[in-house]
């Protein structure tokens, strides 16, 4: 699982607001489904939070609940004032993280 993918415009016009799209492969196990054979609950395991940082400063953050679909897709807006790097972190129940980053130019 995982394979995070992101789409960030490489060139951004100064003052513009652009859309960033992200996707990660994850089952998002809700914790209420049962194993059909044993009848036991399958433990919850979801991506419970997502964060995007531009040059170390949080620009967008999300908390996800089991109602978010598997392979969570999240898009949001950014309007950076100067060129830089954007880092993405997805955190799973239990604390495991997945990361991805992208660079962009502001001109």
């Amino acid at each position: 699982m995982s394979r995070p993918r992101v789409r960030v415009p490489r060139k951004i016009k100064k003052g513009d607001t652009v859309t960033v799209k992200t996707l990660i492969a994850h089952k998002m196990e809700t914790g209420v489904r049962r194993n059909k054979k044993t009848g036991k609950l399958i433990p919850r395991k979801i991506i419970n939070s997502f964060e995007a940082k531009i040059d170390g400063k949080t620009v967008f953050k999300a908390a996800l609940h089991p109602a978010v679909s598997s392979n969570p897709y999240i898009s949001f807006a950014i309007s950076p004032k100067k060129s830089g790097k954007i880092d993405f972190v997805w955190t799973e129940d239990g604390g495991k993280t997945f990361t991805k980053s992208a660079k962009f130019e502001v001109a």
Binding site: G31, I54, F60, A62, A67, S69, A77, D93
Partner: protein
């Protein structure tokens, strides 16, 4: 392990909600999702947990979504808040709730000065036809609310 602790926390919370709303009503909402009253009470409690006693003002928040979702497992949803994104008019956070899901919390989003706009999109699970509610928390403390009815053909909270 921490993983079990996490699910333990959810159960505890569910229990507290049940204690508040009346155990019977909660059970009904969970197993026969057709009782609108119980669903609404759950949603109201979930909302209260996030915004406290503040009264949401209708408007400024728009929710985008299909009129009819054929597959409740993955319903594309978008939101946007009218805002200059500066000063008191800055949108601090947007909270999304689903009135007809066994658990109304869907997702919370937080913005910053570099956000440029308080908008976003994601995909969600919907158990049945229901109202989606998005609350926008502003920097000046006001809370705005948007609603949208989405009809669901095949529910997606399946077990």
């Amino acid at each position: 392990m921490s993983q079990t602790e996490v699910s333990g926390g959810v159960h505890r919370r569910s229990f507290l909600i049940a204690a508040g709303a009346g155990g019977a009503a909660f059970a009904a909402a969970q197993f026969t999702p057709g009782i609108a009253l119980a669903d609404k009470a759950l949603t109201e409690q979930a909302i209260k947990k996030v915004i406290g006693d503040r009264k949401p003002i209708e408007g400024r928040v728009s929710i985008d979504g299909p009129e009819i979702a054929e597959n409740g497992n993955t319903v594309p949803v978008g939101f946007e808040v009218e805002s200059k994104m500066s000063g008191g008019d800055m949108v601090k956070a947007v909270h999304v709730f689903a009135e007809g899901n066994p658990r109304p919390e869907v997702a919370n989003f937080w913005f910053s000065a570099d956000s440029g706009a308080a908008r976003g999109a994601f995909r969600m699970r919907m158990a049945k036809t229901q109202n989606l509610i998005a609350l926008a928390e502003m920097a000046d403390g006001k809370v705005y609310m948007g609603k949208r009815l989405v009809k669901v053909t095949i529910g997606g909270c399946g077990g």
